[in-house]
Symmetry: C2
Subunit: 448 residues, 2 copies
């Protein structure tokens, strides 16, 4: 890179002019000089596509051709790189990405749903056409976690990835804790503030985080994407009382996406013997110790913690969504393309991505928080303790706050590590007790 900004411009076509598309155009314009110096050539938007040509977006599109049809943008010979910001796991977004890759054009996308569902096939297509598929913006917004895992940890065997991957959920949980209010109330406020969608299920039921986790899993472990194998639980069931008990126990509730590899050898997919590797992928509200780095990530922020055999634990934290942070990630990918970087889509060639079996739920080890609402009467605790004992589950703490004979009171139990199968069997037995009048709340405790 001897010459500064003297190469031919990289000509970019952007499909989708929502917030991220607008932010990308602004970043390319505002920081054009710096980007040109960093890449050794200018990066220039030359074409755009969106549904409504006449909508006022506050963008200067004078240098861009307009395409009503995103496929025409992909076919435009002026366009060297396609940025897909349409969204959705299928339909026009998928057709556009496929068309661009088929034409041998690199693609930059922020579309986690598309990758979660079709990532392996798209990676194969990208490699077959020698085109490149970049998706820094698809996970954790502005945090360059894809680059961190793929490039920064290139010398590591990654064993575990854990992330706060949905800012809406983290905002709701943070606000519930700070205000002591209940979920429905805080959700309504988040919707009014624009932090949650009118139809919030995609976020609060954990689907969005699961899409992102499936991508991180493939990248971290060098395996094919398996979105269907992600166990997903959202935050609708979290109540103020559990948040308060967590604080009392020195814990904090976070919706985490966690992927862990178990067994297998030293290859990126556990390839060199040592038993068949499995992978567990979970999105669920969990409790983490107050002193852990993830506990300190509050509000709409995202964070990803990775554990590698050489680097140890490493965490990156920042804005997980929004026009400008997500645009920052899109431009990072464009800069990589402009510099001529060559990267396998999920870190290793698509043909080398291994299919890793899902770890059996039954065997997954963990400590647990269990909250019961029971009638305060003699003998109840003994019955609960017996159910745990019969599954060889060791109690770490038991909290029974306040006495109110004959009334419903919360009883909280934390356990030492046990298998999920044992825990769920014990809880089923406890739930059937006559004195147990509400469904027990079971939340996993992560050591971080």
């Amino acid at each position: 890179m001897k010459a500064a900004g003297k190469g031919a411009p990289l000509r970019v076509g952007i499909a989708g002019l929502g917030t991220v598309g607008g932010g990308t155009l602004r970043a390319l314009a505002d920081n054009a000089e710096a980007i040109g110096l960093r890449c050794g050539r200018p990066v220039r938007a030359v074409a755009v596509s969106a549904r409504d040509r006449h909508k006022e977006r506050g963008l200067d599109l004078s240098a861009c051709r307009w395409h009503d049809d995103p496929l025409a943008l992909a076919a435009d010979p002026e366009v060297e790189v396609v940025v897909e910001l349409i969204g959705g796991s299928d339909g026009p977004a998928k057709a556009l990405v496929e068309a661009a890759l088929e034409a041998g054009k690199p693609v930059v996308t922020a579309n986690k749903a598309l990758l979660a569902h079709h990532g392996t096939a798209l990676a194969r297509l990208a490699e077959a056409r020698d085109a490149g598929l970049y998706y820094e913006a698809a996970v954790a917004g502005g945090i360059p976690v894809i680059g961190l895992l793929r490039d920064g940890l290139a010398g590591n065997r990654v064993e575990r990835v854990a992330g706060i991957l949905n800012g809406t959920c983290n905002y709701i949980l943070t606000t519930m804790r700070e205000s002591g209010r209940e979920f429905a109330d805080v959700l309504a406020e988040a919707q009014a503030l624009g932090y949650a969608e009118a139809d919030p299920g995609f976020d609060i039921d954990g689907v969005d985080a699961a899409h992102k986790l499936a991508i991180l899993t493939a990248l971290a472990f060098g395996c094919t994407l398996d979105f269907e194998a992600v166990r997903v639980e959202g935050i609708r069931q979290i109540s103020a009382v559990d948040i308060a008990f967590a604080e009392e126990l020195g814990l904090r509730i976070k919706l985490l996406g966690i992927a862990a590899r178990n067994g297998g050898g030293g290859g990126p997919g556990g390839g060199d013997g040592g038993g068949e590797a499995t992978v567990s992928q979970r999105v669920a509200p969990v409790m983490v110790p107050l002193g852990s780095p993830l506990a300190a990530v509050e509000g709409v922020f995202n964070a990803v913690l990775a554990e590698g055999d050489f680097v140890g634990k490493i965490m990156a934290e920042g804005a997980g969504a929004g026009e400008r942070p997500t645009a920052s990630a899109v431009v990072a990918d464009l800069a990589a393309i402009a510099r001529g970087d060559r990267r396998a889509v999920f870190g290793v060639p698509a043909a080398a991505l291994r299919r890793l079996a899902a770890a059996p739920v039954e065997d997954q080890a963990g400590a647990w928080y269990l909250r019961l609402m029971v009638i305060d009467q003699p003998g109840v605790i003994a019955e609960v303790a017996a159910a745990l004992r019969d599954e060889e589950i060791s109690v770490e703490a038991l909290l029974q706050r306040g006495r109110d004979p004959g009334e419903l009171v919360p009883v909280v139990i934390t356990t030492h590590e046990t298998s999920e199968g044992r825990m769920r069997r014990a809880v089923a037995r406890i739930a059937a007790l006559e004195a147990c009048l509400e469904a027990p709340r079971l939340i996993r405790i992560e050591s971080e």
Copy 2:
């Protein structure tokens, strides 16, 4: 990258077989298969150099040629890439790096002192020989912060970088706070535990952090390195009483390296008009709010927080030193070379690195913590308040804990934002008061 691991191996020569050199050899061996898949070719150590050939290091060097002279390693035609792990700003390390670059061989180094003192000249040499100079391991150990700034934030104008860049200092400050003990006591313990050197000045006087900050500054702002312009203050003067007052004020003392750009336009060095940009570079103990991400980084961990105009605030945290984390960073650089990445040494071509003037100390704005040890007698506070008033400094809080007429008592004042010049003039006047029996302690308060 169609073919997996089928390219010719990248042949690496490693000079220096201390902990990081050993860790690098182990990482290349342990994760050879994964690294090969990720890079599209194997990365192989083929030659080593160290002072004592016969020392037992627990390393398998059977596949490596031995060179007593590092310059012979650089000249070895089998060696394509030189890893410099000798250390020191001059002498053999500098000679080796120069010889390798002169020969057109890319260099990977963990040597922050070398880069802080000679980075600009080495970047020019690397570019003149089209060789590449990589230094992920030189700053913040395993945290891939160089890649994060250079690649992940490529679309941003970076305005400020703040980091916990020295694990020894962070460990000492954390332990002082947790135990309430004094600096000298905790330092002695850290030395016994191997967390601090027998000659600790390099760490605790802030020199090591200053080396790293000078590198981050050049990379973040696209400017020439200017180590001499870093204002450096270590942690020897921090006492338990200041740590305790900080906690009471909702603050925590951290040794931070902070680089900020003031003024100038939108280019990487502030190049497109808008007044002449200046840069301030400081290493000093500062107080940060307890809720800020940097406050939560404890013990030997490092962290770097960057602020970009699109990404906003982003922080990465992890192990800042040690055999395996630092080796992880060295291998990340080797992987980049193996894949054929092309990167300007400090993000932009050396010829485009601008010389940015140091911001005048006098004008640097900030809020302050001031602790006085004064004789508890009527009128002292009034004299102190008058000194501040005369410099138009606004008091945010004043704490006088305990009354002990005629004895020495601590008085703590926090101020609203003012210029450093005003603050230092007021403190000079206060220090001269008859009732002020010890030198005042002045610590900057950062908003994060």
